[in-house]
């Protein structure tokens, strides 16, 4: 594939997203905003799964922490400090994630880690649903969209589609940060741990510290994007931390492809298109959606990103063990740097 052709698709996607409010129905615009946050959330999850080889089934807990922090502070009138609110939410999510990781990663991995994180997220959800000042089961509605002051100029994000464009920019920044981490030295270290932790330890990598770092970063990014989501949806409920929400990044990653950095994002977009396209098939939409997803998983085991790579001729070269999938134990890196 030529460089121009490779750039055409992401450029078109960005243009499509940014221009959406100019020509699309407001329902589609709202869905696009939700999908952007879901996509970044899925990318943060894949930093753990695709890069580090750890599967968390409770990632929605961190998302809900960020969403609630943002919701409470915005309702309390801290809208002018919204950028700091997002950073603070990310830090709170990272701190909780670090605490959970300190305990969980020492004691468990694989399925045990998955179940432990799931249980902790459920604990958080139940606690939120019984906390009256956080709205119990009905959550916190009427979250105001903030006004951002930039020196002499202030931007009212509640006006028109301003928050949508802000969301585009903020999700872009978070995605860029995740890309930088994933493709930098730390990302390479994580991939070496995923492929062979013992070998990584032998060459001097502190495996536990790096796993904990990835877990903390994943939780922090999940919470930050949760903080962006709250004023977009203008309501947060305990269900944001539910098991169903935790399975979303897993689903998006499987659809899009765990072997690609962009896979979870592609999966989120594909799912949104399918879900919206089947909205009028009341009673049938789940069957149609499920069938399409099943077909993708069966016929494109590397997800849509893998299928695209094959289509574009950039074949995934099998490693010496014949394993190309993320999380696939030992051997040559399945995730090629710079590949998408």
């Amino acid at each position: 594939m030529t460089r121009a052709a490779r750039l055409a698709v992401p450029t078109a996607a960005v243009l499509l997203l940014v221009s959406l409010p100019l020509w699309a129905n407001s329902g589609v615009v709202f869905l696009a905003g939700v999908t952007m946050t879901s996509a970044v959330f899925a990318l943060s999850w894949n930093l753990l799964f695709g890069y580090t080889g750890l599967a968390s089934f409770g990632s929605a807990g961190f998302f809900s922490i960020g969403a609630y922090v943002s919701a409470v502070l915005l309702r309390e009138g801290y809208g002018s400090l919204f950028l700091l609110v997002v950073v603070l939410a990310g830090l709170v999510g990272a701190a909780v994630s670090w605490l959970v990781g300190c305990v969980a990663l020492r004691r468990s991995k694989g399925i045990h880690l998955a179940i432990l994180t799931l249980a902790l997220a459920e604990l958080l959800r139940i606690t939120l649903s019984h906390t009256r000042w956080l709205g119990s089961e009905d959550g916190l509605p009427n979250i105001p969209r903030p006004t951002l002051p930039f020196g002499f100029v202030s931007v009212d994000l509640a006006a028109g589609n301003n928050y949508y464009w802000f969301l585009c920019a903020a999700c872009g920044v978070l995605t860029a940060a995740l890309w930088w981490i994933a493709h930098g030295r730390f990302g390479r270290v994580l991939r070496s741990i995923r492929q062979d932790p013992e070998r990584a330890a032998f060459i001097g990598i502190d495996v536990h510290a790096c796993r904990l770092g990835a877990f903390t970063l994943s939780g922090g990014f999940g919470a930050a994007v949760g903080a962006l989501y709250a004023p977009w949806s203008q309501i947060v409920t305990p269900d944001l931390g539910s098991m169903m929400h935790s399975t979303q990044p897993i689903l998006f990653t499987l659809i899009g492809g765990a072997t690609s950095f962009w896979g979870p994002m592609i999966g989120a977009a594909a799912f949104a298109v399918i879900d919206f396209g089947t909205r009028t098939l009341v009673g049938m939409s789940e069957i149609v959606t499920g069938s399409i997803l099943l077909a993708i998983v069966l016929f494109a085991p590397h997800g849509l990103a893998g299928a695209w790579r094959r289509l574009a001729g950039a074949r995934v070269r099998p490693n010496p063990n014949g394993n190309t999938a993320a999380g696939g134990a030992i051997g040559r890196p399945a995730m090629r740097e710079g590949a998408w």
């Binding site: 594939m1 030529t2 121009a4 052709a5 055409a8 698709v9 078109a12 499509l16 020509w23 699309a24 129905n25 407001s26 329902g27 589609v28 615009v29 709202f30 869905l31 939700v34 649903s129 019984h130 009256r132 119990s136 089961e137 009905d138 959550g139 509605p141 009427n142 949806s233 203008q234 309501i235 409920t237 269900d239 919206f276 909205r279 009028t280 009341v282 009673g283 939409s285 789940e286 289509l311 574009a312 001729g313």
Partner: protein, 414 residues
């Protein structure tokens, strides 16, 4: 393989073509008067959503048969909110973006709290179908929304009062409840109504025991039933919902709980319990309902019941059918009266309205747009002589305005 520029451009054009499909791009109002119905048609809430859809469809059928609204046919545009606030907002924005200004939505509070703040900006008017949560007409009040549902103080305060009148000698009440925050209000206002009525009757205040709790969705209630059996209470309020209730009543029967209590009150399952359990229905249960045709018969109620029987063969429709019908009827009547779908015209018309529906004359309190109508109760139970295995023994109606909480729009109540 090298990707040619033409291939890329063709792909982009095809993508743009798909996105430009009708229904995604903005559309304009034309032809029929369209009402968007947003309800839960998949997942655990489907039980309620199906009844709401049926009631709304019956209303549209009746109105169109009578000539439509101001000479235009009425069209229902149904969307599934999937029990998810995001989906509710997406479909609301989709429908409002396509020019729809009239909405009926129900019944989960969190989903209504997600969409009602959007009504004003969309110049839309909504009737909320059946919700009970106080927030909707208090701290989250929006003038563009009307609650055609029974607030917890009204429904359960009246229920407590009815039980006090019917069973003035009971000195101790027990409560069986799922450990869900939203259900606590039911027990709370039942207790308030009960104690106030005892006081009004000049009786000493009854003891209301702490609720016996079960996990939501539990399958085994034997421990809880044992606790209730040994409680010494003579009255029992069940605040379990849906299938939890069926499991509970089935297990309670084997314990003989049926004959242990002088009074059994059920908070929200009404005749669904009897329809599910048939000949195993408990001996006698008092249940609250939002609509029961024989309690306060009127011609609209009769027509809706007949239409329901024609559609489903079921002569005991869930109360959501009646309330959903009335929600559509209110919107249609307001459009007919004003000839407009503009919210500025519709809101005062609905506030002053006197539409006749299944639930009688539909009246909303002007201050906070909460429904103030009669509160209906049915007593039903096992009946060996009846082919269904159960029957309704009697009904009772209390005036809702006696029990409805004070209006505090924009501020929390209590």
């Amino acid at each position: 393989m090298t990707m040619k520029r033409r291939t890329v451009l063709t792909g982009l054009a095809a993508g743009a073509g798909i996105l430009a499909a009708p229904g995604i791009l903005r559309a304009q109002d034309s032809g029929p008067v369209r009402i968007g119905l947003i309800t839960t048609l998949s997942g655990p809430g489907q039980f309620y959503g199906n009844h709401i859809q049926t009631g709304a469809e019956i209303a549209v059928e009746r109105i169109n048969k009578a000539g439509g609204v101001a000479g235009r046919p009425l069209e229902l545009v149904v969307r599934d909110d999937k029990g998810n606030p995001n989906t509710a907002v997406t479909v609301f924005r989709e429908l409002s973006g396509s020019g729809i200004r009239l909405f009926a939505q129900g019944t989960f509070t969190a989903l209504l709290l997600a969409t009602t703040p959007l009504l004003k900006e969309a110049n839309a008017t909504m009737v909320m179908v059946g919700p009970q949560a106080l927030a909707l007409t208090h701290e989250a009040f929006t003038p563009n929304a009307f609650r055609l549902g029974f607030s917890s103080p009204m429904a359960y305060g009246a229920f407590g009062a009815l039980m006090a009148r019917r069973f003035p000698d009971i000195g101790r009440w027990a409560i069986m409840m799922s450990d869900v925050a939203a259900l606590r209000d039911i027990a709370r206002y039942f207790e308030v109504g009960l104690k106030r009525e005892y006081a009004a009757l000049g009786r000493s205040e009854p003891e209301v025991m702490n609720p016996v709790l079960a996990t939501f969705g539990a399958a085994d209630y034997r421990n809880q039933i044992s606790t209730l059996m040994g409680s010494g209470a003579e009255g029992l309020l069940n605040v379990l919902q849906g299938t939890d209730s069926v499991s509970y009543y089935k297990q309670a029967r084997t314990f003989g709980l049926d004959g242990k209590f002088k009074a059994v009150a059920d908070s929200g399952n009404e005749l669904s319990i009897a329809k599910a359990m048939g000949g195993n229905t408990p001996r006698s249960i008092w249940g609250w309902t939002g609509w029961y045709q024989d309690a306060a018969p009127n011609p609209v109620s009769r027509e809706v019941l007949d239409a329901h029987i024609r559609r489903t063969g079921d002569g005991y429709p869930n109360w959501y059918v009646g309330v959903a019908h009335d929600s559509i009827a209110v919107l249609a009547a307001a459009v007919a009266a004003t000839g407009s779908t503009d919210s500025a015209a519709l809101i005062p018309t609905i506030e002053a309205g006197n539409t006749m529906g299944c639930t009688g004359t539909i009246a909303f309190r002007k201050d906070d747009h909460t429904f103030v109508g009669d509160v209906t109760f049915v007593r039903f139970g096992r009946e060996t002589g009846d082919p269904k295995g159960w029957r309704v023994f009697e009904t009772a109606t209390l005036p809702g305005d006696r029990f409805v909480e004070p209006a505090t729009p924009g501020k929390p109540f209590g």
